[in-house]
Symmetry: C2
Subunit: 488 residues, 2 copies
C-alpha cells in the first residue's frame, strides 16, 4: 500500500482551532472522503512537521489522538498507518438534487411563512448605530462565569443529566431554582407540578396556544402588540381579535374571546404598565366570562426606574392565568430557555405536548442555567444590565429631547426601548431603509399592528448600542426625518 | 447596621460544587432572600473560615468574587459589607397557589396527554438488566472529546454564535458539515436551502406533520410502527391510517393518504429493511397518487452486519420525500439535535414554522456538534458503538437461541434491538411488570400497534446493557415466560 504524500496536507489560512486540531481534521476528512485508504502509510511526523512548518510534537500528538479514536494504527518504529477499522467512506455516489414537484406553500396555505416580520438584517452588529431590539450586548454579558458553569455541567458528575433522554421531565435542579428563587420575585408561589421548562419564551407561547386554541376558537391580541403571538394564533387556525391598547395597556371592557393575551409588565411595544386596579378588573372579567389569560412577563427584570410590580399571575385566585417567562432576554437570546407557569391540569397537557414536539430542552443547558442561578451570577448580570440600561436610557431621552423627536410610549419602569411616532405622512419602512444605508438600524412599527395599521410608528431599542453612540444615531434619525430629507 | 453572625452560614453535607462556590451561594441566597440587608457587615474571613472549617483563602476568594459581581463591597481593613446596589429581594409576599377552575384536559380533548406510551421507569439505569431502548451508554460515549469541543464553542471567538438570536437561521458551520459530510453518506446531495436543523428527530417529525397535515387530511402510519408518529398525527387533527407491515417493511399496494410515514432503513420496531425494488415502487406510487413521503432514517449509522443502503431520499427524483435524521441517537439522546431534508419550498415553510415554534436550536449546541463532526470524533464514536453493538448482538442472539425465545424481527443490517414474540396467551405488559420486580426491563409491544393490537410482542434493546449481563438477563426473561411462572 502506497504512502500518503505530505503534499496531501496543507494548512488553510484563517482556519480556526489549534494546529493539532487542524491536522486531525485533515486526516479524518481524508479518510472519510475515501482519499486515504485503510493500510496506507501516513507521512512521518518529522516529514509532516517540516512540510507544514509546525513542531514535530504537534504532529505526534495529533497522530496519537487519531490512534486512540481508531483512525490510525501505530506500528512502532515503522510509523503510522490508516487503521483497517477506520470509519468508512460511503460506497455509493450521491444523488442529484430532485425536482420540486409539490407546491408546499400552497399545501400549508402559507400559514407559517406569510407572517409580517420585524425586518432585521442578519449582520446587524456590523452597523454603527443598531437601535435593534432583543439581541445580546457582548460587553454586558458575564462570559467567564457562564463558561465556568457550563464547564461544571460538562463534568463527569453531571454526565447523566447531560446525556439522558429525560422523556418528559425537566432538570430537577433548574426547576428548584425557578420555584425557589425566580418565581417568588414575581409574587408567584408555584409548586413544581405547576411549572414547565420550554425552549425560550417563544416556545412557551407556542405551547400555550397549541394547548388552548384551534379552529373555531378566538384569541384577543393587543393592538399594537407582539407580532409573533398574532402569527402563532393564526398558525393554530384560531381567529385573532385585535383590541386597541391605551396608555395603561389592554383595556378590560368588551374583551371577547376564549384566550386573552397580554403583556402587563411592559406592554409590547408601547411599554405601558398595567396598574393594579386594571389587573384586578381583568381577572374579574376572566372569571365572569370564562376566558383564560396568557401573561407574557417579558423584560420584568429590566425595571430600573421603579421597583417591578408583582406579576398578574400573583393575583390569580381562579387558576385562569398562564404565565410565560424567559431567561433568553436577560442571559442571552441564543440560550433558548423559558418557562410556563399554570394550574397542574394545564401543565400536564402542556408537558405532553412538549414531549411530542421536542421532548425536552437540552439537559446541558438546563444544568448550566441552574448553576448560573444558584451561584448568584444571574442576579449580578441582571443588576449590571439594569445599571447599563439606566444610563443608556437617560442618554437616549436627552438625545430624543434635543432632536425634538416624539416619544409615543416609554413606560415608567424601564425596559429596553422607546416606542416612537414620526409625522403622520412618514412611512417608517421607507425611513428604515434610508437609515440603514446611513448605518442606522431602527424597527418600523407596522409589524406590531393587526391589519392595515398606521405606518408612522417605529421602535428604538438601547439594549445593543453603546451609550457613546446614541446621540449621533438619534441625530441621524432626526436628519432623515427632516422635511425634504427623503428626496435629498 | 448589625454584623451578620457566622451562624448564618453552614455547609450542607453532600452539597455539590467547590467550597468557594458553596460560600458564594450562601451569601447570594441570603441577600436575595432579604436576610442579609444592604450595608450589613459580613463575618471576617478568618471568623467564617474557622466556623466552617475551611481555609481562610477559600473565604477570601469567595468574597472577592462577590465583590466583582456587586453583591459585596470591600472597605479595606474594615472588612466586607453587603453592597448598597446588590440585587434586591422582592418587596411583596408570594401568593398562595390558586384553585384549579378550568378543566384543561377537557379543553384540549386530552389530545396530547392521552397517548399510549412505551412504559419506561425514569431510574432505568438502577436496574441490573436494562433491555431498554434509546438511552445513552456512558461507557461508549466520548465524553472527553465532546467536552473539548464544547469548551472551544464556549470560547470568546465563538461568542457571537453562542449568544445571538439567529432568528430563523442555523449555524453555518454545522449546516456545512451536514451537507458535505453526513448527507453524502446517505446518498443525498442537498444544498443548504434544502436542510433545516431541528431539536432532535422528534421535533423534525413534528414540524413535518404540522406543515403537511391537519384536520381533513390522512396520514399512513406503519403498523406496528413508531408510537410517537401516531401521536403526532393525532395532535394535528389528521386521520391516521394504519397499514400492516410485512417482512420487507411497508407494502406499497393500497396506500391511501396525503402523507405516508415510513422507516425504510430499520422498520420500527420490526427492524425490517425495505429492499430497493420496493423503494422504487413506493416512489412511483407517490408520483402516481400524489402523496408525500416522510422518511425517518433512524439508526442508519448502526449498520454493522452489512453496509447501509442509501436512503429512500437518495432515489427521490420528484421532490416528494421529506427526510428526518438525528444526532441524538448516535451522540446522546439529551443532545436534542436533528434535521429535515426536503425540497426548498418545503424547507422554507418548515423554517418559518420552526421560527414560530422555538426560533432555533441553541447556538452553543450547534457549534459544539459542528466541531465534533469536523474533527472526526463523531465517526470515531459511531465506529466504537458499532463494534460494541456487534458484540452485544452476537451475545444476545446466542442467549436467545439458548433459552429458546422467539425472535419476530431482527433486521439484516444491525440496529440496537430485537423484536420478540411471546406465546399467544402472554400479556407482555404484565410480563414487564413481573420482570421489573426481578431487575429486568423490557418494552411491551402494545404501544407500537394501532388500536387493539396483539399483546404478546416485546422489544429487547442491547444499546444500554453491558455484554456480560445479557445472558443472565435473557435467562430471567425465559424463566418469567416459562409455563406457570406467572403464578409462582
Amino acid at each position: 500500500m502506497a504512502a500518503i504524500p505530505v503534499e496531501a496536507f496543507y494548512l488553510t489560512p484563517g482556519a480556526t482551532g489549534s494546529l493539532q486540531q487542524q491536522i486531525r481534521a485533515m486526516v479524518t476528512q481524508g479518510i472519510l472522503a475515501g482519499r486515504f485508504r485503510p493500510g496506507a502509510r501516513m507521512p512521518s511526523s518529522r516529514g509532516l512537521a517540516g512540510h507544514l512548518g509546525v513542531s514535530r510534537i504537534t504532529v505526534t500528538l495529533a497522530y496519537s489522538d487519531l490512534v486512540s479514536s481508531d483512525y490510525l494504527t501505530s506500528a512502532g518504529r515503522s510509523g503510522y498507518f490508516v487503521s483497517g477499522t477506520a470509519p468508512l467512506a460511503p460506497e455509493f455516489p450521491a444523488s442529484a438534487p430532485p425536482a420540486e414537484a409539490i407546491d408546499f406553500k400552497g399545501l400549508t396555505g402559507g400559514r407559517f411563512s406569510s407572517v409580517v416580520r420585524v425586518e432585521r438584517p442578519d449582520d446587524w452588529d456590523r452597523y454603527p448605530w443598531p437601535f435593534i431590539y432583543g439581541q445580546a450586548d457582548p460587553t454586558l454579558f458575564d462570559h467567564q462565569n457562564w463558561r465556568q458553569c457550563a464547564l461544571r455541567a460538562l463534568g463527569k458528575r453531571d454526565f447523566a443529566a447531560l446525556t439522558s433522554d429525560y422523556y418528559e421531565r425537566d432538570d430537577p435542579l433548574l426547576l428548584q431554582e425557578l420555584v425557589r428563587s425566580i418565581l417568588p420575585r414575581r409574587g408567584i408561589a408555584a409548586r413544581e407540578e405547576e411549572v414547565l421548562l420550554t425552549l425560550g419564551a417563544q416556545n412557551a407561547l407556542w405551547i400555550a396556544a397549541m394547548a388552548l386554541l384551534g379552529p373555531g376558537r378566538r384569541a384577543v391580541v393587543e393592538n399594537p402588540g407582539y407580532p409573533a403571538w398574532r402569527a402563532i394564533v393564526a398558525a393554530t387556525g384560531a381567529e385573532a381579535v385585535p383590541v386597541d391598547v391605551d396608555a395603561l395597556g389592554l383595556p378590560v371592557e368588551g374583551l371577547a374571546g376564549d384566550v386573552v393575551f397580554t403583556t402587563p409588565s411592559h406592554q409590547c411595544p408601547t411599554n405601558a404598565t398595567m396598574p393594579v386596579e386594571r389587573r384586578v378588573a381583568l381577572l374579574e372579567a376572566a372569571e365572569r366570562q370564562g376566558f383564560v389569560i396568557v401573561e407574557d412577563d417579558y423584560e420584568f427584570e429590566m425595571s430600573f426606574l421603579k421597583p417591578v410590580a408583582p406579576a398578574l399571575k400573583s393575583l390569580d385566585r381562579g387558576g385562569r392565568v398562564i404565565y410565560a417567562g424567559s431567561f433568553s432576554k436577560s442571559v442571552f437570546p441564543g440560550l433558548r430557555l423559558g418557562y410556563l407557569v399554570g394550574p397542574p391540569g394545564f401543565i400536564a397537557e402542556a408537558r405532553s405536548l412538549r414531549g411530542l414536539m421536542l421532548k425536552h430542552p437540552p439537559g446541558h443547558i438546563q444544568r448550566t442555567m441552574a448553576y448560573f442561578l444558584g451561584l448568584g451570577h444571574y442576579d449580578a448580570l441582571v443588576n449590571r444590565m439594569k445599571n447599563a440600561y439606566r444610563r443608556r436610557r437617560q442618554v437616549m431621552a436627552e438625545a430624543i429631547a434635543t432632536e425634538g423627536l416624539e416619544v409615543a410610549g416609554q413606560g415608567g419602569f424601564g425596559g429596553s426601548s422607546f416606542w416612537m411616532r414620526a409625522g403622520a405622512g412618514v412611512d417608517t419602512e421607507e425611513l428604515a431603509l434610508r437609515l440603514r444605508a446611513d448605518g442606522v438600524l431602527i424597527e418600523p412599527g407596522r409589524a406590531f399592528f393587526a391589519g392595515a395599521g398606521p405606518r408612522n410608528y417605529y421602535r428604538l431599542a438601547y439594549s445593543s448600542i453603546a451609550p457613546q453612540r446614541i446621540a449621533e444615531g438619534v441625530a441621524r434619525i432626526a436628519r432623515a426625518l427632516a422635511p425634504g430629507a427623503a428626496r435629498r
